[in-house]
């Protein structure tokens, strides 16, 4: 994983490369800046902990109940099912497109990665609006299909939304593995399956472990898909408690439990990474691709078609169909420009704020490595991994009590977005920074510039592309963000994601189609250029 974009995909990427001036002391103002951009993010979390500790006995009794145990078991089982399905899908897809002689493997590789641009709740919306009550199928045939909502339907949706993470990481690893071992195994009489299990799989294990933990984290944090498809996991229950109850303590307690699970998974992820083995950056030669028998070829094609069909073609077609129906049955399109403006302004503001905050974090992490900068960096990544609904609830508690006019303001919302996604901006900046030879900066200093001048004249222009790429990622992620927006948006502030969510909740699919498609297009283009295309070249 050398490219900057690869690291952006992965919030817990290994620290940037080795450096000459590790011990160089940073000026105080840089430390202050670094701490100042990271610390405020922790205040609401601390406030949440305080609130939970100060909660009444009744709230604690509610926590230690059979229902909570059930919720915990269901959430973890759900994450497990999704992770296992997504991992199998991702690994199989990566193997087929890199190790067999399947035709059009390049086209397949791109198509297989594309579901990454579809937010999980848009995917859920398309499934429900196709097969659910009042959906396309029931509407045009008069036959109601058995309900696709619920645990298993949502698991399929989330697996389809997340397998590209596994696929991309595994694929980029598999192409770097020296194929001669596999070929030797096959030459000595192993079947393809056995060669894969005994030779390839062990080498892929670190990549699979890291990416599947990411999927687990994503699943645990997902709010939109599980809510639309009615699975009682933590995120949905927290929101139901938030909406339906006057006393918010149970929601606070559950949020904290959810955060703890996320942190545990994150810890597991970093451990799995610590034990990982890295390979030569390039395989010595391309592998001999396995010739598929006709039957196997049909099976492989069926597998890839179903995966891409459900994960990509179905949602796009269903949404387009609804849009057309809306257009033909008399303008129930309901495209609100206020929502477009809200999405754009929120995302641009978040991107810019994150870019500003990313600079001190990245400079400290790359140029001044040490305990504190490592802690700052780890905090940034940990925040990135926390479920948004829990963070947003913590901010609600804190801001409504102590921040007065800032609560429910655009400024606070943009700040929360930037905080949640700072890791994306700082990761990209770090990658850009490691590629600058520090001697360039030293030379400028030697010629009489002070630190700020060096930064402005040498460093900033050189890292600007990376910084912009990071800002663009934050822009995209903010565009899709739902739970924090629902809880923290200013009165009258609307976004495309919120439109999709509320129209989908009213089962007004024709009205949900336009904002959903727009969201998809807006996030597809940059996602393709930033993440998918560079990885295809690996």
């Amino acid at each position: 994983m050398t490219s900057s974009t690869a690291d952006q995909l992965n919030p817990a990427a290994p620290e940037a490369g080795t450096l000459r001036n590790e011990d160089a002391a940073a000026p105080t103002w840089l430390w202050v800046a670094g701490v100042a951009v990271v610390l405020p993010a922790l205040i609401p979390v601390v406030a949440l902990v305080g609130r939970v500790i100060g909660a009444s006995d009744a709230a604690w009794d509610a926590l230690v109940s059979a229902r909570t145990a059930q919720l915990l078991a269901r959430s973890i089982f759900f994450a497990l099912v999704v992770t296992m399905t997504a991992t199998s899908l991702g690994v199989a897809a990566a193997w087929i497109t890199t190790r067999t002689d399947i035709r059009y493997s390049r086209v397949w590789s791109t198509l297989l990665a594309l579901p990454l641009v579809i937010p999980s709740y848009v995917l859920a919306l398309s499934f429900i609006s196709f097969a659910g009550p009042r959906g396309l199928f029931a509407d045009s045939t008069g036959v109601s299909l058995p309900s696709i909502s619920g645990f298993w339907g949502a698991a399929v949706v989330l697996a389809l939304a997340t397998y590209p993470y596994v696929y991309l990481v595994v694929r980029s690893t598999i192409v770097r593995i020296d194929p001669s071992l596999e070929e030797a195994a096959r030459g000595l009489g192993s079947s393809a399956a056995e060669a894969f299990r005994r030779i390839t799989l062990p080498q892929l294990r670190p990549a699979i472990a890291a990416s599947s933990l990411l999927v687990a984290l994503y699943t645990l944090s997902d709010f939109g898909a599980v809510s639309l498809m009615r699975v009682d996991v933590f995120t949905r229950v927290i929101y139901a408690q938030y909406q339906g109850r006057i006393d918010r303590t149970p929601a606070a307690v559950l949020s904290l439990v959810l955060m703890l699970i996320a942190v545990t998974i994150l810890w597991g992820e970093s451990r799995s990474r610590g034990r990982s083995v890295y390979f030569a950056s390039q395989a010595p030669r391309p592998p001999t691709r396995l010739g598929l028998a006709p039957r196997q070829r049909t099976a492989a094609h069926a597998f890839l078609s179903i995966t891409v069909g459900l994960g990509l073609a179905l949602p796009v077609l269903v949404l387009v169909a609804w849009l057309l129906r809306g257009l033909t049955t008399g303008g129930v399109i309901d495209m609100r420009w206020g929502a477009v403006l809200g999405s754009l302004s929120g995302s641009v503001a978040a991107g810019l704020l994150a870019m500003i905050a990313a600079v001190p974090v990245a400079v400290l992490a790359v140029r001044h490595r040490g305990r504190i900068s490592r802690a700052l960096r780890a905090t940034v990544y940990a925040i990135f991994s926390l479920p948004h609904i829990a963070v947003a609830l913590a901010v609600v508690f804190f801001a409504s009590r102590y921040l007065g006019g800032l609560y429910q303001s655009f400024v606070l919302l943009a700040f929360v977005y930037a905080t949640l996604f700072l890791a994306q901006a700082s990761g990209a900046t770090e990658a850009a920074l490691t590629q600058i030879n520090p001697s360039l900066e030293e030379a400028a200093r030697g010629l009489g510039d002070n630190r700020l001048q060096v930064f402005r004249r040498i460093t900033l222009p050189l890292i600007l592309r990376g910084l912009m790429a990071g800002g663009a990622l934050v822009f995209l992620t903010t565009m899709k963000e739902l739970p924090a927006t629902l809880l923290l948006r200013p009165t009258g502030f609307d976004t495309l994601a919120v439109r999709v969510w509320s129209t989908a909740n009213e089962l007004s699919y024709a009205r949900a189609a336009a904002p959903a498609l727009l969201l998809l297009i807006v996030s597809a283009v940059p996602m393709y250029y930033l993440i998918i295309r560079p990885r295809q070249r690996v």
Partner: protein
């Protein structure tokens, strides 16, 4: 590139001020937290803005969520008026001491049975619980007179509910007060055991019943009339449960003024408007609710309020039961 960034930044700043800068202190503007839906309230707000020249900012969300928000915000709340779907949410804000006492002139306009007994909020329009049913498939004579009949096996898979909806939760809270917690939980479990199809909203249930997707649903009375307004005649029909239980409840939607409001005069004017002839006629004929101001008549399609046999209930007690209602609904596995 840096220059482009600067341009972009200033653009965002302009947009941000344009979006957020409307509410700075102008005396003739108020902020309303509305637990009632935008679809329903927005046209009324427009009428009010035109008539009074007062600008209104509205935050739409679930009633209970907004009540909790007000409790959380305390004196920081930007809200001047809380306009809620149900007396439970209003009661929670009143109990927290966040409402100011309303003028008697306002309270006198409404039957005291539909307002807070300490005069902190006033009922504006009434909503009855009903069973909406498919008149093509269901013989109206088989429909029970109380909600308890729906836990019987004959109704398996046939009665839809919207368990996360505020009116459903308020109804469950009322049932707790009338029948007690144990009986309410038994009822919810019975509904769950009957595999009641669940929907996100009342309006969706009514449309589903009308399309023959499900036989019946527990909703508020007015969704059917609004659907008829849209599509003409419907096969769906309303059944009022007049047995005197929680299912016979007439729940007022109401409004109160926040204690910390700096625009109390404008806020009072808003509530006066809600109780005035124009808004009350809107509730009667546009949203098909029961107008609660004295001397106003409901739409002639509705049975008179007097025929509904609602249970005797102190509305201010509902607030205390709302959280228990959410708990019981979750315990029964209905969420």
């Amino acid at each position: 590139m840096i220059r482009r960034l600067v341009v972009l930044t200033s653009l965002v700043a302009v947009v941000a001020t344009a979006c957020g800068g409307t509410d700075d202190g102008a005396a003739d503007s108020i902020t309303v937290y509305s637990g009632r839906s935008e679809e329903l309230v927005a046209p009324l707000i427009e009428l009010f803005e035109e008539a009074s020249g007062i600008e209104v900012e509205v935050r739409y969300a679930e009633s209970a969520e907004l009540a909790a928000t007000i409790l959380e915000e305390g004196t920081n709340t930007p809200a001047d008026v809380f306009f809620a779907q149900d007396p439970a949410s209003l009661g929670a804000v009143a109990l927290g001491g966040h409402f100011r006492a309303l003028d008697n002139a306002l309270l006198d306009k409404v039957d005291p049975g539909f307002s807070d007994d300490a005069g902190r909020w006033v009922g504006v329009s009434g909503r009855a619980r009903v069973v909406v049913y498919d008149s093509g498939k269901v013989d109206s004579a088989t429909l029970p007179a109380t909600e308890d009949g729906f836990t019987e096996a004959a109704w398996a898979g046939r009665l839809a509910v919207a368990p996360t909806n505020g009116s459903f939760l308020a109804f469950v809270a009322a049932k707790i007060l009338i029948d007690g917690e144990a009986a309410t939980l038994r009822w919810l479990e019975g509904i769950k055991a009957n595999d009641a199809p669940t929907y996100p909203k009342n309006s969706v249930i009514v449309a589903a019943v009308n399309d023959g997707e499900v036989d019946a649903g527990l909703v508020n009375h007015y969704y059917l009339f609004r659907l008829q307004d849209e599509v003409g005649t419907t096969v769906a029909a309303n059944h009022f449960m007049t047995g005197g239980g929680a299912g016979s409840l007439v729940m007022p939607a109401g409004a109160g003024i926040l204690a910390g409001s700096e625009n109390a005069a404008a806020a009072t004017e808003f509530i006066e408007f809600l109780l005035g002839a124009e808004a009350q006629a809107f509730f009667a004929d546009e949203t098909f609710e029961y107008p609660l101001a004295n001397g106003m008549d409901p739409n002639e399609a509705l049975p008179p309020l007097g025929d509904l046999n609602p249970p005797q209930l102190r509305l201010s007690d509902l607030a205390g039961a709302l959280d228990r209602a959410t708990d019981l609904v979750a315990t029964a596995g209905l969420l």
